[in-house]
């Protein structure tokens, strides 16, 4: 048996690596919780955001972008926050904080730094139009889950990257589900790894569950947030948004459209709306990257 070809890629090593990953910015978590508190005001949110110059800059850039069509440039944070509204503030916060993690080369998934970023932002933009089309009220949680759903790929790529080629080979040879091949080779998959990271970062349980389920057809039909996330991810992949080598190598649930109450016509309208949303996403990505 050739043990030399098998360095320490044990599951324990992968999970230890997750602990070593820089934590999601506390300021963002704090701002999000103040945003949800009915007793707090926009001024309270502004007080926290002011501590992070990068966030302030992104919020001002977004508020002054063509998307809002304002006649005058806004230069103070509180006015910008009032104009953006609660949902858009949440989205800018999550997107701005997530970008440093998402802008990475993922060799094992044959994804460039732009691919993961476009896929995550694209999926989040799609989540907004799909929420609207299918009447999903919890669009902010879906947006957060959409931005962060592939975060587990970063850990697996950094720490078990070389073995991902083995995963891909196995998936290609057997024409099997990529997540299944990840389990066979590594002992976990990027959805489970992503969910563990988000738990460590103290994201709400529903978001962690949706991320955990997004490639598991038996799991994602069990709750609406997970089903919505899986659906948005499928549309992003079908439209070729930041697609990796694994992206089409997953099984889909034949009950997904039924669970979502989505007709074939709705599905096509969602695709069309998604294409338009992705045009908008170009601006947002530009804004976030400066």
């Amino acid at each position: 048996m050739n043990t030399a070809a098998r360095p320490d890629f044990t599951l324990e090593a992968v999970y230890e690596s997750m602990v070593a990953l820089p934590v999601f910015p506390k300021i963002v978590h704090k701002a999000l919780s103040v945003l949800d508190d009915p007793e707090k005001s926009i001024a309270d949110v502004a007080k926290i955001i002011k501590l992070d110059h990068g966030l302030v800059a992104n919020i001002l850039k977004l508020t002054n972008s063509a998307m809002f069509g304002l006649r005058q440039q806004v230069s103070d944070l509180e006015t910008a926050l009032a104009l953006l509204g609660q949902n858009r503030i949440r989205e800018v916060l999550v997107a701005s904080a997530a970008m440093p993690y998402l802008s990475r080369d993922l060799h094992g998934y044959e994804m460039s730094p732009q691919d993961l970023c476009f896929h995550s932002i694209g999926c989040a933009m799609i989540s907004e139009v799909v929420s609207q089309r299918l009447g999903f009220s919890n669009s902010s949680e879906l947006f957060t889950a959409a931005i962060l759903h592939d975060i587990g790929k970063i850990v697996l790529d950094i720490y078990v990257g070389p073995r991902l080629f083995e995963v891909l080979e196995r998936s290609r040879q057997d024409d099997s589900d990529f997540a299944m091949a990840e389990w066979e080779v590594i002992g976990t998959d990027h959805a489970v790894a992503g969910s563990s990271i988000l738990q460590q970062w103290e994201f709400p349980r529903d978001i962690c569950r949706a991320v955990r389920s997004h490639h598991d057809p038996d799991l994602y039909i069990q709750d609406r947030l997970s089903a919505m996330l899986a659906f948005c991810n499928i549309i992003a992949i079908q439209l070729g948004i930041g697609v990796g080598t694994d992206s089409f190598r997953y099984r889909l649930s034949d009950q997904l459209l039924y669970v979502l109450g989505c007709s074939e016509k709705d599905y096509l309208v969602c695709i069309e709306d998604a294409v338009r949303a992705l045009e908008d996403a170009k601006d947002v990505i530009g804004l976030i990257f400066g």
Binding site: S247, L252, Y267, L268
Partner: protein, 155 residues
């Protein structure tokens, strides 16, 4: 060499020598590639919707997009009988339910349209769990398909 990228859901046709027209990361969508090397005209129509979703739509359905492509090709001097038509993209998930099989749906509609109009399919690289990009150089009889591992295939 001058590269021109096809926007999502758009048609791009060129008669400029040394121009390469490219549709990137097709996913399940379909690129209809047409070339008339003798006339020095080539183009790509990017198809996203297999049929109209039944409301005023900003994206043309596959038949309309093919019509747009051929109309632009002929306007630039291509001859219908000399055109080579190729299909690329239409990736599928594993065990994809038929109501979500966007790639299959687009491909079938495109092939039907070609048959109905007596046009031959000159080549294809479609289906399976593979994301592709495709390019055609003006004057070339073959399209170049680019796979995720950067391997290239001529069709």
């Amino acid at each position: 060499m001058h590269e021109v990228y096809v926007d999502r859901g758009a048609v791009t046709v060129s008669d400029e020598p040394s121009t390469v027209i490219m549709a990137k990361s097709l996913g399940a969508t379909l690129a209809v590639v047409a070339t008339d090397p003798a006339a020095g005209v080539a183009g790509i129509g990017h198809c996203i919707l297999p049929v109209s979703p039944g409301k005023p739509s900003t994206l043309p359905e596959v038949l309309e997009q093919m019509r747009n492509l051929f109309k632009h090709m002929i306007q630039k001097g291509a001859a219908a009988q000399d055109m080579k038509i190729m299909l690329c993209g239409a990736a599928t998930f594993l065990g994809e339910p038929k109501e979500m099989a966007l790639g299959v749906w687009l491909y079938k509609k495109a092939v039907q349209a070609l048959k109905k109009n007596g046009l031959a399919l000159g080549g294809e690289h479609v289906g399976g769990p593979i994301n592709r990009s495709v390019s055609i150089e003006v004057g070339s009889p073959q399209a170049r398909v680019i796979l995720p591992d950067k391997k290239e295939i001529l069709i």
